[in-house]
Amino acid sequence: MRGEFTRELGSLGGVLGLVDRFAQEHGLDERTAFATRLVVEELFANFVRHNRGGVRPVEVELTMAGGSLEVRLWDHDVAPFRVPERAPVEIGRPLDERTAGGLGLHFVRSYFDELTYGYSDGTVCVTARRNLWRTDVRHQTGG
């Protein structure tokens, strides 16, 4: 299932609506549907907030294949953007030392099993994959 969405956070209602339709069509359990909504939003929001240069719509695709659910997003005519290999979010820090920075990718890596990045001819493509047999959230303690 595929959709195109204007590169703005206001498109998120439609983006999540696409996930809802996909979840209903494929009978996803609510835990998987929640995880997929969150991951798609986090990746879309990262494109909107951080990819430089894009004006064309962001494409979002959801597929089921071989016991996995795949989410793929394309952002066209943008500067190269790499999903940062950042250190785990330090969730144990006290309140005054906590920030929300990095939480989005922390969630993507916790709820989905693989995250890959590609860049070609001005297009960023990010793919996230979740094994459908999973029922848990991977809790990373970070350091």
């Binding site: 956070l9 206001g10 498109s11 998120l12 209602g13 999540l16 609510e30 835990r31 929640f34 909504r37 969150l38 939003e41 986090e42 929001a45 979010v89 330090e90 969730i91 144990g92 820090r93 006290p94 309140l95 005054d96 906590r98 920030t99 929300a100 939480l103 989005g104 922390h106 969630f107 916790s110 959230v137 809790h139 990373q140 970070g142």
Partner: protein, 94 residues
């Protein structure tokens, strides 16, 4: 759909989906809170990282004066999310 409103008993009730497009609405509402206050999540089905960031921002502001947000009635998905974010140690959750 998303909504945030103040109930008659002083709770703030959030409902629907708090995605990134709703963050400024929430930020503006939370600015009205000046003391310890309950946020009732019983009708909130979803929140993403930017929404959590706004909650954290408010918690830090209130914490500076000895106050804080009390988060109540998280569903199981939001409970997992708060735990994953480490927010179960920076918010009082009931």
């Amino acid at each position: 759909m998303f909504d945030i409103r103040r109930a008659d008993d002083g709770r703030w009730v959030l409902s629907g989906r708090l995605d990134a497009s709703r963050v400024e609405t929430v930020r503006a509402a939370l600015r009205e809170i000046t003391g310890t206050c309950q946020l009732d999540f019983s009708d909130l089905e979803y929140i993403s990282s930017l929404g959590l960031g706004v909650l954290l921002e408010a918690q830090k502001r209130l914490g500076a004066s000895g106050h804080g947000l009390v988060i109540t009635n998280l569903n199981e998905h939001l409970t997992d999310l708060f735990r994953l974010a480490g927010f179960d140690s920076v918010f009082e959750i009931r």
